[in-house]
């Protein structure tokens, strides 16, 4: 198996969706519509709060929203691609081809990256145009922050896909639900200090918390905290390893129990 063969198989997963987006306005629109709607709602809320003489710091809400959307898209693009194969009864065709599960997951993750980047650039441009919010103000830390969120999104996606493998379409609510399960504890729109002490423990176990805290620190006083970034990446490594191990365990389990064949024809 050479690298080019590997790349062909991974790119097959990406092409499968690019063909679709090229022809389907509604599907392509979905990448743009929801994030833009979010940005508009939160952006106008921010403007309103500013009129009420609340600190300009609330503009950070827009930065948080763009960052949050990046994490959400990275998890969602991956898992939606997986559930779509289930809906179209195509999963068996994929698992019976020479593509390995890891190549398949990598393909869906790269698709997620492409969609997330596209959305993030669009939102950043709109935020600058509509609300004079410059995401580049975060500076060079922007790239590692975004990368950290992307990795966490992939880790969450692996847990979600593993559960879908085991429970089939009964688990499809997780595709949309899991990111919102971590959102309240990730200090997305408010600092960790706002949370009750007990919940802060959970917050500090999530890599996303350190990214949002780090972003706020830069926007408020220009302070770059490398330690926050380091903790985020260390936690991401743990979550990615755990997600991969959990997925591998579930994949073996469904092959032992025969669920994989049933799943492909559900």
């Amino acid at each position: 198996m050479n690298t080019y063969d590997r790349w062909l198989r991974i790119s097959a997963v990406i092409y499968r969706y690019l063909y679709l987006y090229r022809r389907s306005v509604t599907r392509a629109g979905e990448i743009v519509f929801w994030p833009v709607m979010d940005l508009l709602v939160w952006g106008f809320l921010t403007l309103y709060l500013r009129e009420l003489s609340v600190s300009n710091a609330i503009l950070f809400l827009i930065g948080s929203l763009i960052f949050w959307d990046f994490l959400y898209r990275s998890q969602q693009a991956t898992t939606v691609a997986f559930i779509e194969e289930m809906w179209s009864k195509n999963l068996l065709n994929i698992f019976l081809s020479p593509i390995s599960v890891w190549e398949y997951i990598l393909g869906t993750c790269l698709l997620g990256l492409m969609k997330s980047l596209f959305t993030a650039v669009l939102l950043a441009a709109l935020a600058w145009f509509c609300y004079a919010f410059n995401i580049l103000a975060v500076g060079p830390m922007l790239i590692p922050f975004v990368l950290s969120l992307l990795l966490f999104g992939w880790a969450l996606a692996m847990f979600t896909m593993a559960l879908m493998l085991r429970f089939g379409q009964a688990a499809e609510a997780l595709v949309w639900g899991i990111p919102f399960l971590v959102q309240p504890f990730s200090a997305v729109f408010y600092p960790v200090d706002v949370l009750p002490v007990g919940l802060r423990v959970i917050a500090y176990l999530l890599p996303s918390t350190y990214v949002f805290e780090g972003m706020r620190a830069i926007l408020i006083n220009g302070e770059t905290s490398w330690s926050l970034l380091l903790i985020a990446f260390a936690l991401n490594a743990v979550y990615l390893a755990a997600g991969a191990a959990f997925f591998a365990w579930m994949f073996r389990l469904v092959r032992e129990k025969g669920y994989l064949s049933r799943l492909g024809m559900e």
Partner: protein, 258 residues
Amino acid sequence: MTSPPIAVESLCKHFGNVQAVDDVSFSVKKGEILGLLGPNGAGKTTIIHMLLGLVLPTSGSARLFGEEVAFARQKLLGRVNFSSAYVALPSNLTVRENLLVFARMYSVRRPERRIDELLERFEIGQLAHRVSGSLSSGQQARLSLCKSLLNEPEILFLDEPTSGLDPDIADKVRRTLREIQRERGLAMIYTSHNMPEVELMCDRIIFLSRGTIVMEGTTSELLERAQQASLEEVFIKVARDGQIRDVASEPSPSGDQA
């Protein structure tokens, strides 16, 4: 000595207390079509899925080209393919897009010509730019067969490939499959509930019931040994009784095995 393309030895699969496959052994030679027959739940699909690495055996071995599927799955899957009436291709992609995606998955270099050839061979070339979801079941079945031949497989697993096709199209599909099989010396495992089709297509047949092999041979051997007039009758007998009186395995009056 080269290993047969497909070799199954003492294969068993339990799902909890259910014995889905029990001590099954057989092999398929290059250029041979083996029919796996039996009532629903007899273990046909479980055996095929173990040969494709989708289901892990409880014990025994399932080998393709002499290699254990459970250990070399990814490598082996590049040399085989599969088509089933119950597995679809993405309905929101066109016929050509679907085939291009799978050509990549099977690492097919310059797939356009191959795709055109297969579409023409299965007489769906004019549908190349139609969305798969808008095709009739017969057209979808032919598309699935095109997908299954993209990588020029050496082994083909066909699960009721003509299910839902009208007799004319089903006949064309059978002829095309036979032609391709002869040209390339493909080994095939074929399942169908259409007994006349099995007679036409298969060189050898295995009847399964409750996870075990109850009879094995060519059509004429099976009819003679089961003392039935048609495969349909053999099938019904197996389905209703779970076994069949095999005169070949009964002691002859002299006490010798026939």
